[in-house]
């Protein structure tokens, strides 16, 4: 049986700054860390959480839209996460803005591990008209 997509179609005008999403929990495994380190070609890379895109995961679980392009991203390092620990992510809509006729959404998220250690904070500005990339930069 096909899964029903019950996500809400994004209404950018109606989206409220400050909307906080349900917390997201996951187990960080050594395999995740190793795969991430191979991908970034850095055996000491300490924040695999960057690749997990957990800051926008709950947004994407709630809303459907035309996709997005990452326009800007800020990352704050507090403590490298440890394999085998469960991480809890709290994410919210931190801002939205219109620039040159294009819509942007800013999400912010904080990750904490099961021992209460603060791991990182990520702030992501997403352009909500991803086809602009192809228009501007072509094939």
């Amino acid at each position: 049986m096909a899964e029903v997509d019950d996500r809400i179609e994004l209404d950018w005008d109606a989206l409220e700054v400050g909307e906080t999403f349900d917390k997201f929990e996951y187990l960080l495994t050594q395999e995740m860390i190793d795969t991430y380190r191979k991908g970034v070609m850095d055996s000491e890379a300490s924040f695999p959480t960057i690749a997990h895109k957990v800051d926008v995961r709950q947004y994407n679980a709630k809303y459907t839209d035309a996709g997005s392009v990452n326009a800007r991203c800020a990352f704050h390092c507090y403590n490298p996460p440890v394999a085998g620990k469960r991480l809890t992510v709290t994410a919210w809509i931190a801002d939205k803005y219109l620039r040159r006729g294009k819509n942007y959404i800013v999400t912010e998220a904080v990750s904490v591990d099961e021992d209460g250690r603060l791991i990182d904070r990520v702030i992501t500005h997403e352009l909500k008209q991803p086809s602009e990339v192809g228009k501007k930069w072509g094939g």
């Binding site: 191979k38 991908g39 850095d42 690749a51 996709g67 704050h76 390092c77 403590n79």
Partner: protein, 150 residues
């Protein structure tokens, strides 16, 4: 790594970091959280549909990761992994086959309660000389890692 005491000066250039992007590297990055479905990063058809590009692109988060590596190598992991910040704007897509170089220069230092915040301007360029990203990063270097003011 032991504690390294060093001085920081405005205008100091940091050691550049060079990365060669491959589709395999992008796939590993995207798959590291268990996401194996097609996306604009891993699948040409999805890239065409979502972005309107002829091929895949690398996530901006890969550039962010490399900028973090650049500054971690500069400040040392014991400092950067606990106080580091990188804020990067993505100006052009990076594609498989691109070679990107991260450079940086110290632009400011401010006293904080627990040390000095050293600010670094970051620029990312591809093999054609195009700037693909700009931003800044910083870390708070504890006083114990700085030369004595006496």
């Amino acid at each position: 790594m032991g504690r390294v005491i060093r001085n920081y000066e405005e205008g100091d250039e940091i050691t550049p970091l060079v990365k060669e992007l491959t589709q395999d590297a992008i796939n590993l990055f995207e798959g590291s959280a268990g996401n194996t479905g097609p996306s604009q990063f891993t699948d040409e058809h999805a890239a065409k549909e979502v972005l309107g590009t002829e091929g895949t692109v690398a996530s901006g988060r890969m550039s962010l990761t490399f900028a973090i590596e650049t500054l971690r190598r500069y400040f040392g992991p014991d400092v950067f992994n606990h106080t580091g910040v990188v804020d990067l704007r993505f100006l052009r897509p990076i594609r498989p086959g691109d070679t990107i170089t991260f450079t940086g220069k110290v632009t400011g230092m401010t006293k904080e309660a627990n040390g000095s915040r050293i600010v670094v301007a970051i620029e990312v360029n591809n093999q054609r000389g195009d700037t693909t990203g700009v931003g800044q990063g910083s870390a708070i270097v504890p006083n114990a890692y700085l030369p004595s003011e006496d």
